[in-house]
């Protein structure tokens, strides 16, 4: 089956990626904007995510209720996500119904109303979303670790934003943010599925090309200076379970070391799944850290992974501490494993295993059109589609020496943050 792939740019600067996939009568369309929480400064943290919410509140042509109804009636699926570096909107529809999704995205690239009354109820919805997050010990700990890791760079705050800002930002702040960043030359559109490329491109041109380009807002990017010395912190809260999170500094996805680090992650903590839909599910019970931390009962569970970002971010290992152990004992066991991977070459078999795991994850991810469409635009946010297409190829080139080198370079205790969630019981004695 020939899957035609096309990449082009409209005259207004909107980048278009199209991939024909004729396996199911479905089409998935994604529009990506280069704006995320890293583009925010206080007192407007969380504004990109709130703008994303308001993008579901309608335009003069498509009031919220009309659209929701039209897409749901056709059996479509739609959603949106805000991340550190980007915001994205997608619809997956039966192939003969995709037009409404294309019209919607063209329309809300420029015509959203940001009605004052809608905003006031959406503000409390997002405050409730943050309160739900705060219910989770891991959110409280993760937020503290991230803040400690980034003092200068705007990766400092969580995507959802700080409560103080959520309570005070105004409708006009949001509208200004929307108009500044939602311009076609700051966006990428990826569509995959059961269509003819020529027809699809013509329709996209018809709907999107008249939207005027705007000045591309500069990205906030104050580089985080080198960390000189380990940072330790603790967060207290309800519960009985101790969690420790160890965050090392990792390079951006476009860095050549990214692939050796992917192999290293797979060996240490099990394969990370980069798919947004499908994929995953491969356990980590024979990873090096599981064998030395869970099997030896320092912790009852662990996970590791990095985020794929534009600027350097973090590789985070999360440990759920065994009830009979202290967090420092678990950390010492972790350090022993890290020293081992820095001292000795890993075997070629271990690398081959990591590659097979990645191959399986990509195969699972190709079971659905939505995930294949996701990759078109997602990869453009931090590199380009070729990055995705050549992922396994680049993993195949990784040698035991590469793995040792990146382990020495990136897993340094002097440049990490160690955070521990200290449970204060169930509050019955209060």
């Amino acid at each position: 089956m020939l899957n035609t792939f096309t990449k082009t740019k409209l005259s207004n600067g909107l980048t278009i990626l199209l991939k024909e996939i004729h396996t199911a009568p479905l089409i998935s369309s994604w529009v990506w904007y280069r704006v995320g929480s890293r583009d925010e400064a206080p007192p407007l943290t969380g504004i990109s995510h709130l703008v994303e919410h308001m993008q579901f509140k309608g335009t003069p042509q498509f009031p919220a209720s009309v659209l929701d109804r039209a897409i749901s009636r056709d059996g479509g699926m739609r959603n949106a996500f805000t991340f550190l570096d980007w915001t994205t909107y997608f619809e997956t529809m039966p192939a003969d119904k995709i037009d409404i999704a294309l019209r919607l995205e063209a329309d809300r690239m420029i015509n959203s109303e940001f009605d004052e009354k809608e905003f006031s109820s959406e503000r409390t919805v997002v405050i409730s979303e943050r309160e739900g997050d705060e219910n989770e010990p891991m959110f409280r700990l993760g937020e503290a670790v991230q803040q400690a890791a980034f003092r200068i760079h705007s990766y400092h705050h969580e995507v959802i934003g700080d409560m103080a800002d959520l309570k005070t930002m105004t409708r006009d702040d949001l509208y200004k943010h929307y108009r500044a960043y939602y311009v076609p030359n700051n966006a990428v559109m990826g569509v995959a599925g059961d269509f003819d490329t020529k027809d699809m491109l013509a329709r996209i041109q018809e709907l999107f090309e008249s939207i005027p380009a705007g000045p591309i807002p500069p990205r906030l990017a104050r580089p985080e200076p080198e960390q000189r010395g380990e940072v330790r912190l603790s967060v207290e809260g309800p519960g009985e379970t101790v969690y420790t999170q160890v965050a090392y500094r990792f390079p951006p996805a476009s860095h050549p070391d990214f692939f050796a680090l992917s192999v290293l992650d797979s060996l240490l903590a099990g394969p990370s799944n980069l798919n947004m839909f499908g994929g995953g599910g491969i356990s980590n019970k024979t990873s090096r850290l599981y064998r030395s931390l869970v099997d030896r009962e320092f912790v009852v569970g662990l996970s590791g992974g990095s985020n794929v970002t534009v600027d350097p971010f973090l590789y985070q290992i999360t440990l759920i501490i065994h009830p009979n152990k202290k967090p420092d004992e678990a950390l010492a066991a972790l350090d022993d494993e890290i020293k081992r991977v820095q001292a000795d070459f890993v075997s070629k078999e271990e690398i081959a295993r990591a590659i097979k795991q990645a191959r399986a994850n990509f195969a699972y991810g190709t079971e659905n059109i939505t995930n294949q469409a996701f990759w078109l635009g997602y990869s453009e946010m931090f590199a380009d589609y070729k990055w995705f297409e050549t992922y396994l190829e680049k993993m195949l080139k990784v040698t035991p020496k590469d793995v040792q080198r990146v382990a020495r370079e990136y897993l340094r205790p002097q440049a990490r943050v160690v955070g521990t969630y200290m449970p204060m019981g169930n509050g019955e004695s209060e």
Partner: protein, 424 residues
């Protein structure tokens, strides 16, 4: 725009069903769009067997199956799986213990071999059982801090009071501590067997080959001691609204679950209830309750209704996460919607919206191998017929607004609700 006629709904022409001599039902449907394959299925045993003082036994056993077999240690078993990017797991429910696995098609024989070993020859090594016990206890400690989980558990305790469905399948710290290795061995011996077992294989493999491989793996399984699950008693309905609050200190958000009992999956009125549920709290931005509690009042990030219909009496619930100071306000709005759905018929427009959604979403539901496998299992479990998805659009369209009103009135009594909350 579509050029594709493939991937039509599963039906008798492409679902292969075969019964092995020992009674195991094999369902298979090919999909060569990706080189992967999913297996999903169930064995006729579950937590209905749990003694009251050893609640969580079936769940403990299901997790322990993969902790070591006659031929593989825990580490050796997972080494086989993880080295090829495959996965395999068991999960215990009330009536059945389900299993699921995934692999590249080239590794299906390996996956089925390990399924057979873990289901038939687990050895429950002492040290692994103790490690697992500590993991389960930590899981319970985490659950006791989770407002959503605890609201659900509290709801089940109210709705099902003296019925076996009131019991938590994960057990509690005391019961998990009371379970011995011998309990696991005994339970496995009488619970696990081929009778009533169903397995679906979906993905890049010809159905005949799938059946051959399943046959090779489990075709010779016999267990003359396999027991029948205990019979379910009748559910005694509430005679007034019952409210319980489970306190968890220092949480910025509380969870609410409000609801009642619902139909069995096999009941003919299931489809009307399911459409009613869509209108109440699923369609678009979470239906009527989404419109009222989230869109208009701005009280919750999530609020939705769900209908869980299975072998025994299901539950029909509305759930929401709200600030502790808004529990009453949100609860009142939810109850108002429950009253409305039993007072007057849904509009033709609402009904036709949800009907169109139910039919239109099928191609998406059947995209992934595990999605197809899950549907094949439902067809088998509830005796829906291999042509179910061909008949499905007509079944959906045949429901009228008065059918929805009737089924809502049968189950939802706004003055006899179970109301559970968890939070500060």
């Amino acid at each position: 725009m579509s050029k594709t006629k493939m991937n039509s709904l599963p039906g008798p022409e492409d679902i292969h069903r075969e019964v092995l001599p020992n009674g195991i039902v094999v369902l298979a449907r090919p999909n060569f769009n990706s080189p992967s394959v999913s297996i999903n299925g169930y064995i006729q045993t579950g937590s209905l067997f749990d003694p009251d003082d050893k609640l969580g036994l079936a769940d403990f056993a299901a997790s322990a199956l993969t902790r070591g077999t006659a031929n593989h240690s825990f580490d050796a078993l997972y080494n086989e799986l993880e080295s090829v990017g495959a996965s395999l797991g068991f999960d215990s429910g009330l009536h059945t213990t389900s299993f699921s696995g995934r692999a590249l098609a080239e590794d299906l024989p390996l996956l089925l071999g390990l399924l057979s070993e873990t289901a038939r020859q687990p050895v429950f090594p002492d040290d692994e059982v103790e490690k697992l016990r500590n993991q389960l206890l930590t899981g319970l400690a985490i659950r006791m801090q989770d407002t959503s989980d605890m609201a659900d558990i509290t709801f089940d305790e109210i709705l099902y009071h003296d019925h076996p469905y009131s019991r938590s399948e994960d057990g509690n710290p005391e019961s998990i501590k009371a379970i011995t290795r011998q309990d696991l061995v005994d339970y496995h011996h009488f619970g696990f067997g081929p009778r009533g077992m169903v397995i679906a294989v979906v993905g890049a493999i010809e159905p005949k080959e799938a059946v051959r491989l399943v046959h090779r793996a489990v075709g010779d399984w016999k267990n003359p001691d396999q027991r029948e699950l205990p019979q379910l008693p009748e559910l005694k309905l509430l005679d007034e609204t019952v409210k319980h609050h489970y306190r968890i200190a220092d949480k910025p958000q509380a969870d609410i679950v409000i609801g009642t009992n619902g139909p069995l999956r096999k009941d003919p009125e299931y489809m009307a209830a399911s459409l009613g549920n869509s209108i109440l709290g699923q369609f678009g931005m979470m239906g009527r309750v989404g419109e009222s509690v989230r869109e208009k009042a701005g009280l919750a990030y999530y609020v939705y209704s769900s209908l869980s219909a299975g072998i025994g009496p299901g539950a029909w619930t509305v759930s929401a996460g709200v600030n502790p100071s808004n529990v009453k306000k949100a609860g009142d709005l939810i109850i108002k919607e429950l009253k409305r759905i039993v007072k007057e018929a849904v509009t033709e427009e609402e009904l036709s919206d949800s009907q169109a959604n139910f039919i239109g979403r099928l191609p998406l539901a059947f995209e992934s191998n595990s999605g197809v496998a899950g549907s094949l299992l439902s067809i088998e479990r509830y005796d829906l017929g291999l042509d179910y998805y061909h008949r499905y659009p007509d079944l959906v369209r045949s429901v009228t607004a008065s059918d929805v009103l009737e089924v809502a009135r049968k189950y939802i009594a706004p003055d006899r609700l179970a109301i559970a909350t968890a939070g500060p």
